[in-house]
């Protein structure tokens, strides 16, 4: 199977950088690396395995840390690289030099989870309004949205 070959190749090419590699379903590979090895792993994936298409970047708030998932895809496999960064120092390198199309996803990460993406070519906020209060990151678990009470135009009957 392609998945097995790819996993073998990953083990060969990345060696001790791999923290964990899993293949929970056909055509799905999850590879965990440390944040310091992220750029090398992605450049390995792109240049040596030909994964040029970045589907998206997901960020998950795990409580004490954030998990960032880079979903790559090519014609036969969806390859996810995951990395974890601590909550008190949420910074990770930008991958825009390798994948120019990642810019919008990285800006979204900055807005929504308050991650500090280093060397990002365009650090402006993407989604949030300009008068959004600083330090509010909506997709963090500790950010609670209070739904305002429903107001029916015309008042109560």
């Amino acid at each position: 199977m392609n998945d097995q070959i790819l996993i073998e190749k990953a083990k060969e090419g990345l060696k001790e950088k791999i923290l964990n590699i899993a293949n929970p379903a056909p055509r799905r590979i999850f590879l965990k690396v440390a944040v310091d090895n992220l750029l090398e792993t992605i450049s390995w994936l792109k240049n040596e395995q030909g994964f040029t298409h970045l589907s998206t970047i997901s960020g998950v708030d795990l409580g004490p840390s954030f998990e960032i998932l880079y979903h790559f895809a090519n014609n036969f496999c969806s390859f996810t690289i995951r990395t974890e960064i601590p909550r008190d120092n949420p910074s990770l390198p930008s991958i825009c030099q390798l994948i120019p199309g990642a810019i919008l996803y990285e800006r979204e990460l900055q807005d929504m989870l308050g991650l500090n993406v280093q060397n990002i070519p365009d650090p402006r906020p993407l989604l949030l309004p300009d008068d959004w209060p600083a330090g509010n990151y909506p997709l963090r678990k500790d950010w609670k949205f209070e739904r305002p009470a429903e107001v029916i135009p015309g008042g109560k009957k």
């Binding site: 029916i152 135009p153 015309g154 109560k156 009957k157």
Partner: protein, 136 residues
């Protein structure tokens, strides 16, 4: 490249009946399974609250009027309803049904509320519900 490639088609339709319908005056038939607004058959409701729990729009509200008489009140907020008919699927006794009306707009959102006061029915669920419907 053909100049005026569209002209034959256009002229062919000049004398034809328009494809559009003079809507508020003439109406199209809706098909049989059309999902309109939900309504309740109170004589079948066993107050399992499956509809209330599964409603994605929080449009169904069941309150208890009197515990002793087992009297309940259901309000369907049609102004919030998204017409997904999940309540119909969730209902184990077939008490929730959906009609085929589509002109339900109103000037006042309060007029869109529908309300039923009823005594809880004792009906055995006809068929197995599609999802796990543990009584809450």
């Amino acid at each position: 490249m053909k100049i005026g490639a569209f002209i034959p088609e256009l002229l062919r339709h000049l004398a034809k009946k328009p494809a559009t319908v003079d809507y508020p005056f003439k109406k199209l038939e809706v098909p049989k399974g059309f999902r309109g607004s939900p309504y309740l058959k109170p004589e079948l409701c066993i107050v399992c609250r499956a509809c209330e729990r599964d409603c994605p729009a929080e449009a169904i509200e069941i309150t208890s009027l009197s515990e002793a008489e087992k009297k309940f009140r259901m309000i369907i907020h049609n102004d919030r309803c998204v017409h997904c008919a999940q309540c119909v699927d969730s209902c184990p006794t077939g008490a929730m049904l959906i009609d085929t009306r589509f002109e339900i707009a109103d000037y006042d959102r309060h007029n869109l509320k529908m309300q039923w006061d009823y005594i809880r029915a004792v009906v055995k669920p006809k068929s197995e519900p599609k999802s796990d419907q543990a009584k809450s």
